[in-house]
Structure formats: C-alpha cells, structure tokens
Symmetry: C2
C-alpha cells in the first residue's frame, strides 16, 4: 500500500501560488461550514504559512505582520496559529518549532512528516497503514491514543541526487 502524499517536496519547480489559493479557499469553505470565523488575521497568517515551501516560524510570520498591522504582537500570531491548528488548517512540526499548511484541511489524522535537513522542506504523508500499526501497538499495552506525531528526519530524493 502506497502512502498518500498530501504535500510534496517542491524540487525547485512549483512556485506554489495555486496551493496557497486552494488552501485559503478550502479554509474559508471549511470554516463557513462549521460556522467558525475566518477573520482577516487568521486568513493572512494561513497565507503566510503557505507562502513558504519550508516550515515557518511564528516570529517570522510576526515580522511580516508587523509591516502590515501596527498592532501585531506575539499573541496575534500565536492565537491565529492556535486557531489554525485546532481547525486542522496547519500543522506544527514539533522538532522544528515551526508550522506548515495542512495538505488536506479538515482531514482527520495528524499526518506524517518527512523533513529534509538539506533543503529544509517538509513533505506530508497520510499513511493509514502506519497510523493503524501505531494504533495497534498502543492498544497492545492498553494505551488510548489521542494524537500521533511522526516526524522523519533525513534527506529528500532531490537533495540526495544533487550531491
């Protein structure tokens, strides 16, 4: 069984304005459906997170936001990120303290991330087989799962081949 790739490594091509547009539309739709407010700040933070191929730091978002909105401060960004995380619109990469747009908004599992330490990009997989195996292992010792974090560190194929 092949894992579904929710987010690919960019491989130099792919200036992903289309991804951003799609992500914003999907977010808008998903929020409207649930009667949740997709405010200007939240939209803009999501856009900034998507704007980079690499995971984005909260304070990098803040630096940009400050140029646009004099009132921007750490809570501005962290609240927006918290909202986006809760709504499944972004993921936090724990090992980097950074954020990426969710490849499939609204989607249930938390995703598995491949982190290339060479180019800094991150791919997202959705692999039900892996999720299932982890769930089974936990069950064997009576552990009830709320969330799974899978972050795979290494080198992507593009970077490997350009060495």
């Amino acid at each position: 069984m092949q894992a579904k790739v929710l987010r690919e490594f960019s491989r130099g091509r792919h200036k992903h304005s289309a991804c951003i547009t799609d992500a914003l539309k999907a977010a808008e739709h998903s929020c409207k459906e649930r009667g949740i407010r997709f405010t200007a700040i939240r939209r803009r933070v999501l856009e900034l997170v998507w704007a980079s191929h690499e995971p984005v730091k909260a304070y990098d978002v803040l630096d940009i936001l400050r140029n646009e909105r004099s009132s921007a401060a750490p809570p501005t960004v962290y609240r927006a990120l918290e909202f986006l995380l809760e709504e499944g619109l972004v993921h936090k990469i724990e090992s980097l303290n950074a954020y990426v747009g969710c490849g499939e908004p609204g989607h249930l599992d938390s995703g598995q991330f491949l982190i290339c330490s060479s180019c800094g990009e991150v791919a997202e997989l959705d692999d039900p087989e892996l999720v299932k195996l982890i769930t089974e292992k936990a069950k064997q010792i009576g552990f009830s799962i709320k969330d799974q974090i899978v972050e795979i560190l290494g080198c992507c194929s593009q970077c490997l081949s350009s060495k």
Copy 2:
C-alpha cells in the same frame, strides 16, 4: 509481533532507584568502552533525568544543580544534555521540550514514545516493525532517513482504568 517495552509506565508502584543505578552503571560502562568522559556533571544530570518518572525540563535540572554547584548555568545543563543525547543516554521528547532517560542505552533506533497526558509519564517502545514500515514508506518516495521521531499522545491504561 510485540513491541519491546524499554520503559514502562510506573503505575504508582516502582520507586525506581534500581533503574537509576542501572542507567548510571550502563552509562559509565558505555562511555568507558568508547573512551568518552563521563564527568561528574554529566553523571549528575543523567541521574536527575532518571530521578523522575516524568520527562524532565532542562530548567528543572538547573534549579536542582544550582543548589549543589554555584557555577551552574543554562549552558551547564544544555551541554550535559547534548552530550547525553549524542551518546544515546537520554531522549528528548520534542512535543514536551523535556528529557527522559533512555531505556536501553547505546541502542540504535530512537525509540517510540507513549505520552500519557493524564499522569504525565512516558513509556518507550522499541518496535522494529514500526521502524521498518516507516523506513519503507520513506524509501518509496526516495527519502533517506537519518532519524525517526514517534510520539504518541493519549492516556495510559492505569489512568484509563482509574477514571
């Protein structure tokens, strides 16, 4: 196939001084074997990490160390932790920014962690099947793995049954 449990949930019993002693002995042995210095600071930090059933924060270690050694400062602790991480004597739990003793020092894989949000304890598994599956999935998209982070959040059996 059953995962090997490198570190168990304590379940109230198990005041684990024996674990600490074993861990220190194993660490000493492993360092001696490799001609690496297991200094007093490093030993003490490892001991303090092991002293708790729960993952330990760097600054909690520092608070204790300050009472024993007037020169203790953040770098004292972070350097010791960095050393212990490199030598495979402790693990960092990325989602908690905290550290646990490695259930099997010197051991190759990075372990899979079950984190109970109720009691705060962490169990460590070594599951070759899971490692293998992750490795295969990565391979399918041409990704070369350096390290795997698996942190499973939820509730341990003890806490589940005491609800």
